[in-house]
Amino acid sequence: MTTHGGFEPVFCTIVPPHVLDRLAQAEDPALAGPARRTLQRDAFERTQRRLTTVIGASAVAAVADGKPQRTIHDARHGTDLPGHKVRGEGDKPGKDATVNRAYAGLGATFELFLQAYRRDSIDGSGLPLNATVHYDRDYNNAFWNGEQMVFGDGDGEIFLDFTIPIDVIGHELAHGVTQYTANLTYFGQPGALNESLSDVFGALIKQYTLGQTAAEADWLIGAGLLAPRVTGVALRSMKEPGTAYDDDVLGKDPQPATMDDFVRTGRDNGGVHINSGIPNHAFYLAATALGGHAWERAGQVWYDVLTGGELRQDAMFADFATLTVKAARERFGDGEELDAVSKGWEQVGVRTL
């Protein structure tokens, strides 16, 4: 007999099996073959990334001319990466809205990092930006594989196309920035900081694109991603963590807003998508206390910490918070920025030294 969801009435029956699950079902070697090749490539990529961590990134022979080098690939509902090239830098928009959204989203992300922080692409040296869309069928996820972004179309029942929210595109690219800078370990508190930094810069990319102030922004991650039948507005709320959705099928948004509700769990790499609500909310508090464009002051402080070289790979919330206070003082002096950042952390219960 088969039972389902018996232990966790809040979380059950949601996302259909994703690509690797699907491939696992395939008796057809035409399907299993590409899967194995993908895994082999992934193993190679991981080795390269470890080498990069150890010996440092090699100089990328890219034109650091302040222009993005975008390439969008179409997996055509398969799983081989990167797939077929469908749009290169400077090519005109095609008929596929998903491809056009991915292209525009990569451009917007590149623009924010360049214009606001003088960073040339995710590695700071003009790294070409690659993304694959239409990955597998009914694929309910998007991820950063260490080299590129991958976007599923969603199943249409729970999730729509993952390229719809520009903050999701920014979130994935920001994982690349983190990988090339602080390289926070993707587990526990450093993992939640890694996730939070992707949400922060994902939200800032959306606000920058829309020209919104902190007061005008919705501070939601993944707005527009949930299918109409789902009771919820987004996947996460930086303004009110824990309130993004409350649905019969999806369950309730599990994010805490403060350390009082910190979730200890081994799941989800130690709750990286759960406890990220705490630093997310601290950023929201600091940014809204300052007002204006959030990427200009609060965002600058967070960026300074991410790229400043002092943030350790195994940093805890308190380490990160302490560095933001230091960065706020160094960049803006003993003014309202320092005050807003300090109070933001204080309100979520994270101590700064």
């Binding site: 389902h4 979380f11 992934d42 991820f143 594989n145 993952f162 081994g266």
Partner: protein, 88 residues
């Protein structure tokens, strides 16, 4: 044999759980072989995955192992997909 699979993480950070009891199944032997191979290749503690990739917890008759996308063995992927599909 009782086989439980829990998937966590992913961009949404939303869990999916399902289980299969093979006792009344005609294909029980196939399930047992698959589950034993999947568990043998698992780890005692959750490995660190790629950002926003899925993490899995596989429990077979009370013994729990962990694995993460995209580093799954063929058997782990097959078992995970079968259990989650059966439970869906």
């Amino acid at each position: 044999m009782r086989i439980q699979v829990r998937r966590t993480g992913g961009f949404a950070g939303i869990e999916r759980y399902a289980e299969v009891d093979t006792s009344d199944r005609p294909d029980a032997a196939e399930w047992h072989a698959l589950a034993e191979q999947a568990v043998a290749a698992g780890r005692g503690t959750p490995p660190v995955g790629v950002p926003d990739g899925f993490s899995y917890q596989i429990t077979v008759d009370g013994k729990t192992v962990y694995c993460s996308d995209p580093r799954l063995t063929d058997e782990q992927r097959k078992l995970i997909s079968r259990v989650l599909k059966e439970g869906a």
